[in-house]
Symmetry: C2
Subunit: 113 residues, 2 copies
DNA sequence: AAAGTATATCGCAAATATACGATTTAGTAC
DNA sequence: GTACTAAATCGTATATTTGCGATATACTTT
């Protein structure tokens, strides 16, 4: 049991769920905010700001990177991370159209809310 | 180790992460869409639509309910679920302001994207 | 080359999520 | 009452996430 059934859903649903998952931890929300604030950032400064160990921050960064929301380049002995604007915008669009779909269809009266 | 450090982040960040988590599975996305479409729904019909066992669907419904995104009332031997409009709208607002915060601060040129 | 610095990866432990079948609960119909 | 139906919960297996320390990698400085 517990085989992943995610493939059984539509590409759109999977993509949205993946983006949501990337945002599903406060540390990653905080990282994105911090990256946006500085618009140029290294992991070390994030470690100072976040209440997590260096290795844990690095892991969260990797997850954001795998989701495509941030881009990282090696910059000497440091790394430079920033928000991947185009991917982020796409994610926002996905969320927006999902929210819109829910809201417009929801116009008729509900049964129990 | 692996103690939950989520409390170490701001309420806002935690709340957004919680909502994101609720949306972090395609089954739950699909459930929300289906509920919005019908605007009145019982678990059984969802089981027919989704490629999951009844108990699994019930579990996903509970997660959505715990996140506050849907409301459920007992309706005879069946249950009636629908989207919790006000909570959903709040969630949308949280996402929107987060996205806006990222985008506006991101205005300056990036370093590596 | 050697030492230092910054980040990534490894290895592990614990927590949480995912999924199902089996069972329980709760109401309806007979 | 008993039988039926629908949904929730329980128990369990497996997968994934979270977190840390330790180690490895990679570049810089001396």
């Amino acid at each position: 049991m517990a085989i992943n059934k995610k493939e059984a859903f539509s590409q759109e649903e999977q993509a949205l769920a993946t983006m949501a998952k990337a945002l599903a931890h406060p540390a990653r929300i905080a990282i994105l905010k911090e990256l946006a604030k500085r618009n140029e950032c290294i992991c070390g400064e994030l470690v100072d700001v976040l209440p997590l160990a260096q290795s844990t921050v690095s892991q969260h960064l990797r997850e954001l990177k795998e989701a495509g929301l941030i881009a990282g380049t090696i910059d000497g002995p440091k790394s430079c991370y920033c928000i991947n604007e185009s991917a982020f915008r796409k994610a926002i669009d996905s969320f927006s159209s999902f929210f819109k779909e829910i809201e417009t269809r929801q116009k008729a009266a509900g049964c129990c809310s």
